[in-house]
Amino acid sequence: MNFEATEERRMISDALDRLLAEHCDVAKRDDTAFNAPYSNAATWQALSEMGAFAALATEEAGGLGGHGFDITTVFERLGRALCCEPVLPQLLAIQLLSSAGSDRAEAAVTGNARYAVAIDEPDTWFELEPLQARATSHGDGEATLNGRKSVVYGAPAATDLLVAAQLDGRTALFAVDASAVELHGYALIDGGGAAEVYLRDTPATLLIADAETALHAALDAGALALCAEAVGIMDVLRDTTLEYLGTRKQFGVPIGAFQALQHRFVDLSIEIEQSRSITQLAADRLAKADGSRTVSMAKNLIGRTGQLVAEEAIQMHGGIAMTWEYSVSHYAKRLTMLDHQLGDRDQHLYRVMAGLRD
């Protein structure tokens, strides 16, 4: 066994840290995080130039990585910086377009085309069936779509959408020009943007007719990415909390001198290491036989520990962490709301439960 990151991944890590330190100043984060289109063109450009998207794609898809550990390397750094750029939907798109063998993959890998992936609907979350959005085929891969997609991450900044819809009783995947749909965009409580997407006889191009396998594989990669983002955030919250316990004085001593807080901090640190471990395990297994189940194990544990770490970081800081001005509040919000993306802890627990007899 070897728990060291490869030289290449260490380099990507360092380069990303430098780039994000320059572009994603937490103090100035509001400007991007809560104002349409909830993405900064210069940051996106810089990410694409340093190869952040290429690291998420395999060589066949025109990238330089695409392994589970490449995904976790990139997203852990994005998490540490609390970067709100919609890299997650880009990852999903890269995965889907390469499954489809589509020549669109290249533009996604360079970041020239910006993707949002529309699956969830108001009544159907975290699941591919039964989707209400419907496609009517016109032959030659051309189709029109009707339906409504909900909380589509990254849609306000997207040039293109990938949309899951029913075609002949199956879940199919389509490409849609973002300018051809009606978008109702909004900021998210943890920063970044999403939109309600209305499809009304919207022209679309069929990419995969029976897309369940490809969608599940992409969603696994996305869930893994979210776990890594969470680990990055947890590290920051742990360090910030530790620092605060040592400097904040009440009753004439640093509050870290109170055993009531010491033991809780230690418990928190244990949970964070557990989160890191399950995420690494899932990164290793992604795309292997038991990959899906391991990703679900990771996403469930991250859902649980993420909330714990967020709540404890706030509580141990006291009032200051309740303020918008202090970055802990934003880290805590992001860490909590991660559980509302690509399957929450219960959804993933069901998947793990389903495999108990295997």
Partner: protein, 395 residues
Amino acid sequence: MNFEFSPEERAFQAEVERFLADHLPRDIAEKVHRGESIGKADTERWQAILNDKGWLALTWPTAFGGTGWDPVQQYLYDEAAWRAGAPRTIPFGLNMLGPVLIAFGTPEQQGHYLPRILNGDDWWCQGYSEPGAGSDLASLRTRADRDGDHYVINGQKTWTTLGQHANKIFCLVRTSSEGKPQEGISFVLVDLDTPGIEMRPIKLIEGGHEVNEVFFTDVRVPVANLVGEENKGWTIAKFLLGHERTGIAGVGLSRQTLVKLKEVAASSRRNGRALIDDPLFAARIAEVEIDLAAMMITNLRMLSQAQGSPGPEASMLKIKGTVIHQTLNDLARRALGPAAAPFPAEALAGNHALVDDTQARNAARYFNNRKLSIFGGSNEIQRNILTKMTQGARR
């Protein structure tokens, strides 16, 4: 033992319900049910209606214009009010300063300030905490120096809830630096219009404005505004912090929040069925319902046993009550799935296909209510109080 309310108590409950049905303005109740924040105007409108009926100051004796109700009556009122969608009354004058003045104030102070609280002439806020003095309140540094028949106040208060609506603030200030830190503290009433006071907003985690910082520069306050004795403010501070007993467990509010949680769980779908039929999620709702049922009896038990000034039972009720309420908020946020994420919730208001108006703010409410275990003496501080009590009992 008898866990049924007596015929008199049931009759009282029916009277409360009738009054609420007849007098609570529909538009205000609808806002409360939708989970919108209630502004100053609506709060004052409702408090005026309650005052006309003599039902505004639940905990005050009748001699001062209060209800004179016993704890069970207060509880019954509280629960009925939340059920009906009554907004909360503002506690600073009614539940904090009022009892302090009744216990420690001069007849002049009582005669002047208590009616003004009831009539809505004054909106009080609480100036206890400072940037360096949170849990350790006794380390506060805002100074009040005697100058003839005035105090001159210099320093900073923070976390002043709803101070933006207030015209008065009651403050703990340092009048002596001799002896133990607790010994040189005084309790003074300050008019926020006095020159030298500046208030600045603090934005909270979910984006709202409910707290402020207050700066005092050479603020001159008449010595007549001192409550109790100079340097004996700590006794008042402790009295005040422990005082709000009936409300502290928040049973009425939590029961109402549970109703809302069940509504959202019944209307959200997962895996092709209502979330309330999903065994994992249903189990969580059921467990918090069990905790709340126990809490209701704990609350009533402690309230009926506590005599005179509030004791450590307030700490127990605070810890349990805040944890239950936070759990309810947590489940309500999670029940929305991805629809919990839009910010501000108004982005989707009216968009019923995704999320009902009454639930749209669930995530914001969850984050905002992290405060419950921090303010009013954090849950850790409450545990310290209880530890002292239990160890005292062992000795």
